[in-house]
């Protein structure tokens, strides 16, 4: 679960990217995060992974107050989160397989278990056949799917995604959304930043709409 209570985020240059944001996402919920370019969507997600720290207010993730997290606890906190980045952030000198395995290696799993889970994750995004390829050989959309496989392979309790389907064709992006929805069915808290209102319409999911850093009534959804 994720709870924001009157959260403000001011960047060092004084820019206020989030203003008085409060919401509650229970476990097993699937939520879309929308808003114009620069509205503060990525900033909000970064607060959840503790890549940024709220300037004011409380961010609670699974009952844990992130501003009370010790330095050495941050890594463990992030391991409980699956994150699909806006840029794909793949390692270009490792195969697809190894890229997807990374969170499991970091967590220190057994080799066999890693192999099994990686294949399952790649299968879900339709890239099992390219497991041994290097990312440079993949198209933009394929790389994005590798990022998605990496986010879900660790069976996280929380799943964040920042424009996960920006480079995918409509058909593929529908499939990916169905995958995210399946995760929310098994009690994972799913939060997806997107511009694509088709998905919002298609899934009966909650919507958080940002406008210049404030949560607004979901006016934008047609």
């Amino acid at each position: 679960m994720i709870r924001f209570s009157q959260v403000f985020k001011r960047y060092p240059n004084g820019f206020e990217a989030l203003k008085n944001v409060s919401f509650y996402l229970p476990s097993g919920s699937m939520t879309f995060l929308t808003g114009h370019s620069g509205a503060g969507k990525s900033t909000l997600l970064k607060l959840i992974t503790r890549s940024e720290l709220a300037s004011n207010g409380q961010v609670l993730v699974d009952e844990r107050n992130l501003s009370r997290l010790w330095r050495h606890q941050i890594a463990a906190h992030r391991r409980a989160i699956g994150n699909v980045f806006q840029e794909h952030k793949l390692l270009y000198d490792r195969t697809i397989e190894d890229n997807v395995a990374l969170p499991l290696v970091v967590a220190g799993l057994e080799y066999k278990e890693i192999g099994r889970r990686v294949r399952a994750a790649l299968d879900k995004v339709g890239l099992l056949a390219k497991a041994k390829y290097y990312p440079r050989r993949l198209s933009g959309g394929e790389q994005q799917r590798v990022g998605i496989a990496r986010a879900v392979v660790g069976r996280p309790r929380i799943l964040l995604a920042d424009e996960p389907t920006g480079n995918l064709d409509p058909q593929l992006s529908d499939e990916i959304m169905r995958l995210f929805f399946m995760f929310s069915q098994v009690d994972v808290t799913v939060l997806i930043a997107t511009h694509d209102y088709r998905h919002i319409r298609a899934h009966s999911a909650a919507v958080l709409a940002l406008k210049e850093g404030r949560l607004v009534e979901d006016e934008a959804t047609p």
């Binding site: 992974t49 050495h72 391991r79 989160i81 980045f85 952030k89 390692l91 990374l102 970091v106 220190g108």
Partner: protein
């Protein structure tokens, strides 16, 4: 068990990375080898010289002029006296120089050869050259000298002290040289390794950022670089041994020529393996420390903790 296994895996992974980029690795190891070979070679030369100097060239010597000149049994008495003296624990060796031997040596050394041939009789007294153990302290040496000078058989005695000062001065010079070079080269080794680690961090900065985002602990991120630094120190020392041996080989010829001209068969040996092992371990430790400092410094910038 798993912990050990993971360390081993990082070790082999790091070795694999070094192996897969042979040219850069060789370049760095060559630099490190050169840096470490220099003090090794200089130390070896100084060490060999000090050894030779101690036992041969500038040994402390007490000259005893005996008062049995013009005695028929002069030689026998002098040798018997020398035997007695050799019982003293401080004395390492005694050389008897008879008046005739002394005159011959004098002719040779002074160049007065022809001119001395018309001396009516040998004016020189019998002489004992007493060599104390070189380990003697200066005070002990002077005490021994006083003791010997006071003996009734001794007409006069002299202690050559210049050797002490000269030896001390030479050793001071060389020691300072070796010391300066070692410090410089330790600094050099750390800088080279630090630079290489920095290159590694930059090269893998994407990886580091991603692993940090994914929840990799700092120790996990740091570990390969620590191995990287330590391995470079270790292999660098082995390169240094090879380069150093090549240097000793190339210097061996002119050193032998020079030594022959000074009537010495002085030769520089090879490094002994314990010395190399010691250098290798220190270098590995230096590399580890350099890597640790560098990685922390870079990680501080690359993946700052938001606060």
């Amino acid at each position: 068990m798993t912990y050990l296994l993971r360390h081993l895996q990082v070790l082999f992974d790091t070795l694999g990375r070094m192996w897969k980029a042979p040219l850069p690795t060789l370049m760095t190891l060559t630099m490190l080898g050169i840096a470490m070979a220099l003090p090794l070679v200089l130390y070896k030369i100084v060490d060999s010289l000090a050894e030779v100097a101690g036992q041969w060239h500038e040994r402390p010597r007490i000259s005893l002029f005996l008062n049995f000149a013009n005695d028929r049994n002069m030689d026998e008495r002098a040798i018997a006296f020398a035997r007695n003296l050799l019982q003293m624990p401080a004395i390492d060796d005694i050389e008897y120089i008879s008046p005739s031997a002394a005159l011959a040596e004098f002719k040779r050394v002074s160049g007065f050869g022809l001119a001395m041939d018309n001396l009516p009789e040998n004016p020189l007294p019998p002489l004992l050259a007493v060599y104390p153990y070189p380990t003697q302290e200066r005070a002990q040496l002077e005490q021994l000298f006083a003791q010997l000078a006071a003996m009734p058989e001794v007409a006069s005695a002299s202690l050559d002290q210049a050797w002490l000062q000269r030896l001390a001065a030479i050793l001071a010079l060389f020691k300072r040289g070796v010391w300066m070079l070692s410090v410089l080269m330790a600094v050099g080794v750390m800088l080279i390794i630090s630079n290489t680690v920095r290159l590694g961090v930059v090269n893998r900065s994407d990886e580091i950022e991603i692993i940090d985002q994914i929840g990799g602990p700092r120790a996990f991120i740091r570990r390969p670089f620590l191995y990287f630094g330590a391995l470079h120190g270790l292999f660098g020392a082995l390169f240094a041994a090879v380069i150093g041996h090549a240097g000793l080989y190339l210097l061996g010829k002119p050193i032998a020529t020079l030594a022959a001209l000074y009537d010495s068969s002085f030769k520089i040996g090879w490094f002994d393996s314990t010395a190399i092992a010691a250098v290798a371990l220190s270098a590995a430790a230096l590399g580890w420390v350099a890597a640790r400092i560098t990685v922390d410094w870079r990680l501080h910038r690359l993946i700052p903790v938001a606060s």
